[in-house]
Structure formats: C-alpha cells, structure tokens
C-alpha cells in the first residue's frame, strides 16, 4: 500500500542553479535520486524518457493523463463518462471523512476519480482506452471506477473496438465504499466475459503497483497481459503475507519478472515500447 510514488511536479525553475538532491529520491528540483540505481539523475532526462531512469530503466510513476499522452496518438483521446462523480454511500469516516478525502484527492491530482476512460488512436488504430491513476486514493476501485470501466467495455463491444486498460492500483477495491467496491470486481469481470464472447481483444497493461481487487479482477483478465518491468503485482500485499506466514519473502517476490516466470503474464514491456507493442498486438489479432 505504500509503494506509490508521489506525482512528479513540473520542473521548478525557481529552485535555482544549486543541484538539489533530495534524500529519499523524491522528484523535486532539477535532479533526483533514482530509487532503482541510487544515481542522481537529471529530471528533464527522466521526463524525456517517459518517466524512466536513463541510467537503469527504473520506471517511475506516470499519471493517468501522461499515460494517455504516452500511449495514444496526439490529440486523439476523447474522454467518456467524465461526468461520473463519486458518492459516499456508507457515509464512511476513518480518521478523515471519505467525502473530504475525495475532495482533497481531486484537488491534489486534478482528477475527478481514479480512472480515465475514453477512445483514441494507437498509431492510427482506434481503441477503447482506460487507465487508473495509482495516486488517486491508491488507484483503488470504487463505484465510479467500476462503472466507468464497465461502460468502456460495453462501448467497446458496441463499437467493435480493441480494449486497452492500463492498471495501477496499490489499493485494490476501495474500502471507503465497502461492499459496493467489492462488487465492482464482479461487475467489470462480467462485462469482460461479454466482451470476450463478442470476440474482442483485451490488452491489460500492469504497472507498479497492481494489487488486491484490481489484480483479482479486470487487470488479470486480458487476452494479453503486459507488465512494465519490476512492477509490484499480486493479490495479497507483501506486509499481509509476511504477517500471516511470519517469514521473509523471497527476493523479487510479486514482481513482473516473478509473474512472468510463473506464467501469469505474456510479456514484460518497457514504457518506451508500450505503444508499438500494443499496435503490433492489435495487428496480429485484428480482423
């Protein structure tokens, strides 16, 4: 649950000529420390490399909006269902009211919810496209994310489009909407079963982190499952497992590479290649 890196802000010009290196590798200023190789890297270069480390290819967090820019052709994205807004059916409150949390997350991320959905082109191939942003309440799925994805899938059926969903979720099913969040897993999975029966191609792209109820529903149901390198992917969180079985977890446990080795993903795809790999897969499966 604590793996999500904060969104890198735009490079600050005012931070002066001093090369600021933050202790924890949090992107800020002109330079940042890469958590992958521990090298100080130039921020602009990192951004130019689609938020990856130019030294070691560590994949940093990418916001949903940036992901759209990276995967879809310029200016082709048309958003669907942007008017859906989260409610607070449980009147949930922990140390903070859920309604306040939604508000502050919206302000912080500039998103209305954890998923953006719509249509656009991947190298001139029209697709239905969805992406979850792991910065919005851990990229967790509540009613809005479930509904948006379900509508996306239903439209992909109607319009006979390939479906691409890029997942990033440390939170899985969102606790603050209780059982309604859990049920979204069944709702989206059922829509995917319909899409499958209609012959559609679903490419699921897993990014760091994809856990819990997101991993245990749509993210695992791709005809093709791609994962970015070294992403944390799994059902139970590493801390939960450690607490249950009381032993240290093996090196590389629940990474993309671990899943590839165990047969659960088709390909590890670097961010740089993602767009062309999606286009190629569509061409292989296109009718």
């Amino acid at each position: 649950m604590s793996k999500v890196l904060p969104a890198p802000s735009e490079p600050s010009q005012s931070s002066g000529s001093k090369n600021k290196i933050r202790r924890k590798g949090i992107p800020e200023g002109l330079w940042l420390r890469c958590p992958g190789c521990n090298e100080a890297i130039f921020r602009k270069e990192m951004l130019r490399a689609l938020n990856t480390c130019p030294e070691c290819d560590h994949h940093f967090y990418v916001s949903a909006k940036d992901r759209i820019k990276q995967v879809l052709d310029d200016g082709t994205f048309v958003e669907w269902d942007s008017e859906l807004h989260p409610a607070d059916p449980l009147e949930f409150s922990d140390q903070k009211k859920y309604s306040d949390r939604i508000h502050s997350e919206q302000k912080r991320t500039g998103l209305r919810e954890a998923a953006l959905t719509g249509t656009g082109m991947v190298r001139a191939r029209r697709v239905a496209f969805g992406v979850t942003d792991s910065a919005f309440i851990m990229g967790s799925m509540g009613s809005v994310v479930g509904e948006k994805l379900t509508r996306l899938i239903e439209r992909a059926i109607e319009q006979n489009l390939p479906l691409i969903i890029v997942s990033g979720s440390g939170g899985g099913a969102r606790m603050h909407e209780g059982i309604l969040s859990l049920m979204q897993m069944a709702k989206v999975s059922a829509a995917l079963a319909k899409y499958d029966a209609a012959g559609g191609l679903f490419i699921s792209v897993l990014t760091n982190p994809t856990m819990g109820g997101v991993a245990a529903s749509f993210a695992s149901l791709g005809d093709l499952v791609f994962a970015e390198p070294k992403a944390l992917i799994g059902f139970a969180g590493p801390r939960t497992i450690k607490a249950t079985i009381g032993v240290e977890l093996p090196e590389g446990f629940q990474t993309s590479e671990f899943l590839l080795e165990h047969g659960y993903i088709d390909r590890i795809v670097t961010r740089e290649k993602l767009k062309s790999e999606i286009a190629r897969a569509i061409d292989y499966c296109g009718k």
Binding site: E79, W80, D94, E147, A191, A193, S220, L221, F235, I245
Partner: protein, 327 residues
C-alpha cells in the same frame, strides 16, 4: 452449553443456569411452575433483545463462532445425499473448498462451499477456510461440469479471505479469482450463493457471482476484514470495532445496497444454538429459490445474472451532454 460463549451472550447463559438450578430445586407446585414459566419468558426476551441489537462487531463474532454451522453441516442436514468431488485436476485438492453432487429435496445439484474445519486438524488442513488457487480452480471445474449436465449450482460462502501466502501468489491467486468471477458470470445454469458466516473479500466473491445471493442474518460480507481495514486506515488493528461500524457489512445494510437479494433468518440466539432449525430454514430458502430460477432459460439466466451485478454501485452523474457517448 456451547464450547464458546461470546462476551455479550453471558447474561443469556447466566439466566439459563439460573433456570436449570431453579428447575432442579423446585417442587411441582403451581407457584414454582409459574415462576419457571416467567423465567423462560424472560430468557426469550433477553435473547431477543441481545440478538435483535447486535453491533456490527458482535455480528462478526457470531459469524466466526466456533459452533456455527459450516458447509459440511449443511451438506449433511440440508441434502439427502452428498457425493464429494475432489481436486482441480491441475495441482491438488484444496480442503478449504468442498464440492460435489448433492440432492436437495429430490433436485440434483452441484454444491460448492468454503470449509473452515471444526477441530484443529481440520482447521489446519483447510487453512481456517482460506482457499488457495487450487480451491477456486476446483470450484470452476465443478461448475463447468454442472453447466454441462444442467445441474444448478449452490455456493456456501464462509471464508475470512483467500489465503495470503507465497504458494498462493505463485499459483496465481489474483488471476484465478478474476477468472472464477468471469466464468461464473456466464455459466448457463442457475447459481444461488449464500453467505453462511464470513464473506471475506475477493475470497468470498470468487464463488459469489450468483443469480441470487443471500446471507444468513448474522453473517457479514465485506470488502476487507475489520482488522485489516483498521490496520490500514486507523494504522492499528485494535480499532477493528470502529472499522466494523464504518464498513456497513451486515445483512440489513447489504440488502439496502442491493448487494444481496434475501436475508435468511437465524433461530433465536444465532445459528450456532440450533443447527437443525438453521438447516431447515436454509433448505426451504434453497428449494424455493431454485424453483423460481428453474423457469428461466439459459440465456435468461446469464442475462439475469449480468444485470444483477451490472446495476450495483452508487455514484452521481451530472446531466451534461457527453458527445463521446454512443447512447
């Protein structure tokens, strides 16, 4: 006397003790018979008051009661026959999930259910009702078999959650739960699911995609355990009681949310006090529900199940025209 007395049940058992004491000491005079009748009436009232006002946290305790009827108890008390079918034909036979042919009032069915285990040995072999991927693969395999031969499927849900362990992750816990929901959503045979104790998150939903989903009155069904939720949102599992209040996971809430269709009433004092009466209620619910579903065609069953889950969710939608939509 049950093996386990819950803290809030103590006054009930104290009064029961008093009644037993009084009975053994009293004569057959009209006065003492009257007194005894009064005490028994008080006992009923007290049990009704306590069990009619359970807090969510108390409900969790009842749902986890060590005497609560489990899947195997229903198999012997509700069905005329049970023919267990083991294994996922891939990796192993998960004892946390039981499956097999059964006869319900003459109707041939496939039953699938989580099993927690009554004694330590059983609990260890079933990981306290926490299924591994092979458990869900077994469930899927038997469901497909049921579809092939036109048997309705009955699922008993009773799990703290799918097992969180190394082997479970290596064998695709996330993938197999997703696939199970995917397969259940389009199974061409009736599916009835009943939460009989704990409905623990994805591990519960993995066998929970039914045409009808019901809960026993004092069971709970939640996105996360109250302890897990407290650990994350309150940073301390000791706040589980607060989390239990916040999660609104009891049967009456779920009925209002449209997540479940029916609540099966438990006998006074909870299912653990009277397995036979609980089983009788279960049987009448299952028979009635299967009969109503028998009228639907295969296509109608799949559509009905799809629509049932399709409409779940609460959100607002501004009345703006979205040019991107197709409708």
């Amino acid at each position: 006397m049950p093996d386990q007395v819950l803290d809030f049940e103590q006054p009930i058992f104290d009064l029961k003790d008093q009644i037993v004491e009084f009975e053994s000491a009293s004569d057959d005079s009209a006065g003492s018979t009257e007194k005894l009748r009064e005490m028994k009436r008080q006992l009923t009232e007290l049990t009704k008051t306590i069990y009619g006002n359970l807090t969510p946290w108390q409900t969790v305790k009842v749902a986890r009661h060590s005497d609560r009827p489990y899947t195997v108890d229903y198999l012997s008390l509700v069905f005329e026959e049970f023919v267990e079918l083991h294994g996922d034909k891939f990796f192993g036979d998960d004892r946390a999930v039981r499956a097999g042919f059964a006869k319900l009032d003459g109707i041939k069915v496939m039953v699938i259910g989580h099993q927690k285990g009554r004694n330590l040995k059983e609990r260890q072999e079933s990981y306290f009702g926490c299924a591994h991927p092979e458990g869900y693969r077994k469930a899927m395999l038997k469901m497909r078999m049921a579809e092939k031969y036109g048997l309705p499927v009955i699922c008993f849900i009773d799990t703290p959650g799918a097992y969180p362990g190394i082997g479970a992750e290596e064998r695709g816990q996330a993938q197999v739960i997703a696939e199970s929901m995917f397969e259940m959503s389009r199974l061409k045979t009736p599916i009835v699911c009943v939460v009989i104790g704990e409905g623990g998150s994805g591990g519960a939903l993995g066998i929970g995609v039914g045409n009808k989903v019901a809960m026993l009155e004092h069971s709970y069904y939640s996105v996360i355990s109250p302890e897990g939720c407290a650990g994350i949102l309150w940073k301390n599992g000791r706040h589980a009681e607060k989390a239990a209040d916040a999660l609104k996971f009891t049967a009456s809430y779920l009925k209002n949310f449209g997540v479940i269709d029916d609540v099966i009433e438990e006998p006074l004092g909870g299912a653990h006090c009277d397995h036979h009466s609980t089983a009788a209620r279960m049987k009448s619910y299952l028979v009635k529900t299967l009969k109503s579903l028998a009228e639907l065609s295969e296509e109608e069953l799949v559509r009905d199940r799809y629509e049932r889950f399709r409409k779940i969710g609460v959100f607002t939608e501004e009345a703006t025209i979205n040019p991107g939509t197709s409708d």
